[in-house]
């Protein structure tokens, strides 16, 4: 399979010589095209830092991150923006929708900044809205929508540019269990039917059980990695719980 993302021995230090914090301490992994990978870890384990590094929001102290063989740790300024705009899709815990724009305009914005003509924008927005079941809320403003709807709008915005990699940061963090389930099923649909590659950070075992592979992080290092293989979701969930138990009490709050 084609490798979309290669993370090569990256490190991220914070602070100065006298008090050094190793947020990421030598992590390496690959993600192949069409994979749905979850990264799990407790608060402070470094999982959000890892996501920030992959998304070029933050810079590595050492090591390399390659997206389709392009070393993104070497990108600068406008190249970074262009990379983010064209190659990545983002889904955040707090949705990050612009409160002054309607759902339609929020989704259209990520195409508009690519200077796509309006006709094409309209076509694409309607198509993705249908797939994510949000046609009914397109003309609504964020404050008129439920959390689940908002997150699906945010997902639509993330996938509409057809990015190489979708990065999701605790996408279910602000949702109730029903909305979470619905959203994750949409993730599976994007992953299985549309072939989107997803890298998701979560501390919730239920959310992680929708992924095809889970990487566990503790103290800035990879602790364990499990593949779903042929298990169904329930079986995979149990496996994840086992690892969480192994990790210690840290993640218990997540259940």
């Amino acid at each position: 399979m084609e490798k979309i993302l290669e993370v090569k021995n990256i490190e991220k230090y914070y602070g100065n010589k006298s008090s050094l914090t190793k947020a990421i301490d030598g992590i390496s992994f690959d993600i192949e095209k069409g994979e749905f990978v979850a990264i799990m870890g407790s608060s402070g384990s470094g999982k959000t830092t890892l996501l920030n590094l992959v998304s070029t929001i933050d810079k590595v102290t050492s090591g390399h991150i390659l997206v389709e063989c392009l070393d993104i740790t070497k990108l600068k300024g406008e190249e970074l923006n262009k990379f983010r705009r064209e190659q990545l899709g983002f889904i955040f815990q707090d949705f990050n929708l612009l409160d002054t724009l309607t759902a339609y305009e929020n989704i259209a914005l990520s195409l508009a900044i690519l200077n796509m003509p309006y006709k094409e924008i309209d076509e694409k927005v309607r198509k993705v809205a249908k797939e994510l079941n949000i046609l009914g809320v397109l003309e609504k403003y964020p404050y008129e929508m439920s959390g689940g709807e908002k997150q699906r709008v945010a997902s639509a915005r993330a996938v509409i540019t057809n990015p190489k990699l979708i990065l999701a940061d605790e996408p279910t963090g602000a949702l109730d269990s029903k909305s979470s389930k619905m959203l994750l099923e949409k993730f599976n649909y994007l992953n299985n039917d549309l072939g989107a590659t997803i890298l998701m950070v979560t501390h919730d075992a239920f959310t992680a059980s929708y992924a095809s592979r889970v990487i566990f992080i503790k103290d800035g290092k990879i602790f364990k990695e499990i593949n779903r293989g042929d298990d169904n979701r329930k079986e995979f969930f149990d496996k994840i719980i086992d690892v969480v138990t192994l990790l210690g009490g840290d993640l218990n709050d997540a259940l």
Binding site: N52, I57, D58, G77, E78, N81, K82, F83, R84, R85, E86, L88, F90, F92, N96, L97, L98, D99, T100, L101, E105, A108, L109, S110, L111, A112, I113, N115, P117, Y118, I121, D122, Y141, P142, Y143, R157
Partner: protein, 691 residues
Amino acid sequence: MMLCKLSLKNIKKSIKDYAIYFFTLILGISIFYVFNALESQTVLMDVSSSTRDIIKLMMTIVSSVSVFVSFVLGFLIIYASRFLMKRRSKEFGIYLTLGISKRKISMILFLETLFIGILSLLVGLGLGIIASQIMSLLVANMFEANLTKFTFIFSASSAIKTIIYFSIMYLIVMIFNTLSVSKCKLIDLLNGAKTSEKVKLKNPYLCIIIFIIAVIVLGKAYHMVTAEFLTLQEVDDIIKPIIMGVISTFLIFWSLSGLILRIVQSIKRYYYKGLNSFTLRQFSSKINTTVFGTTIICLMLFVTICLLSSCLTIKNSMNKNIRELAPVDAMFSQNINMNKNYEYYKNYGYNDLQIKNSNYTAKEMFELYNFDITSYFKNYIEVNTYATKDLTMNNTLGSLLDYVRTNFPFLAYDTMETIMKISDYNKVAKFYGIDEYFLNDNQYMIVADFNSMVEIRNIALKNKEQISLFGHTLNPKYENCQDGFLEMSSNHINTGIILVPDNVIDEDYLFKNYLIGNYKTSDKNEIIKIENSINELDKSSKTKEYLLPIGTTKLSIKEATVGLSAMVTFIGLYLGIIFLISSAAILGLKELSESSDNKERFKMLRKIGVSEKMINKALFRQILIFFMLPLILAIIHSIFGIKFAIQILEVFGNEELLPSIIMTSIFLVLIYGGYFLITYNSSKNIIKERF
């Protein structure tokens, strides 16, 4: 001690964030100082006592205007500090959760205001003192005084006044802050920033209807102050269009806020291009919530533009008028044949002897006083005017008298017209360097330059009204009054001189004799000496029997005008600049107070990969539209406002409009544009913090 430290730290932090607030305070203080210190700058100048009187009058007006200005600035400062308070609500929330009492928070705020007050007063006064040195050049130029050497001027009284006025303002701010702290609730403070905006869209059809109504009302108001100007008689007539203008301004902004978005949204290709949708939404959400504020700012800008351009027009016109209307050094007029109009002169307070001894020309009269006026002249001419009770306005208007009388009931129709031989007038015209005219037998013409009178006289001239004079019947040569004048003055006040062929005149009706000349010397001090010696003649006992010629000299006209024009200019500048600063500062503060919301939004944009260039462009456009919208309407208002002002200010002259509009634009660009740039840069700094 801890409180002190905390408040000092806060100020350090906010100096960067609130450049605009400090900029406004400092600007306000220095302008307040500069204008109140005007008098001290004129103390060292060598000006005549009449100019000195005008300066005194000017300072009295400046003082009362300062009270008004302090209200405007006080309002502005309170407004600004409330914005700061709002932005810092979270900070106060944290203080409260930490257990700091409201009383102590008030104390922190009190100390902050105190420090800011002292700092801004120090810097502002410092700047004001520097600026007033530059101002003294302008003052000297205005009063045409020689500034032989540079003297450092400091006005203690103005400084003390500034300190007192601003201390009172700061005190009020402190009270306001304390009140708002004591009223606030912890939960609101902590959640203050989180409430996401609710977008309310107005009904587009209602907006269109309101917009059309507003435009019609505004058009009517414009029409009332310009085309229907002559029908405006009472104060009510002027207030009506003003109220109409204010209301329609509000309605235009109200409806535009709903319409602009709709219109641009319908142009999909443009709306969904780059960040256009975002920028427009930003703008429309802001204007939606600030219709009232935008209206006030628009009106303030309107007043500023009118004030600056008309006061500068007055000044320029006055200076131009002097060059034009006082082309020679001196003119003396002497009443002749006063006994022919005995009652008239008696009413003016002349005594019987003076009236009897009135058959001398001006030159002869000077000789009678043993004063050889012509020896001071390089060149001179003598001309006469004539008048008869048989030729008054009643006669010149002829058959149109009743029509004019009903429209203009206030004119003195029984005043005798001034009549001149065409050859005499041409003599004067040649001497002045203005147009000469030619008349056939049985023709007459009128020269006048006072517009309102010209209009009235033209009605009669167009109707080819004949006049009869000393047994001759004369027809008008022209259908309009021609431009020209006899008496020198600072303004266009020639209400009409009737020029007739020389053979028509009956010398018995000689009315006044004029002696017009240029001095041999051009040195100002020597001219003053000559004119003082002429004035000395007034002390002679002969004046009880022989009336001295009445003198009008270029120098005296200049002095009177200079003082008046300086007064108008300074007061106009003072108010105009303060208004301009206020409106620009309010706009800037409004924009910045929302920058914390904007910060979140721009952060989201960055995350989805919008480039820095695009973000800056969007921000620039957003602020530009916000600043331009009230300005555009204000400029449209001003076009009509200035037209109106010109008609009111006709006596002062209004020829020099273009330069003053250019000057006004320069002020506008400098101050308004300056605020725009500061706002843009501050906003850019606020949203710059990456992630």
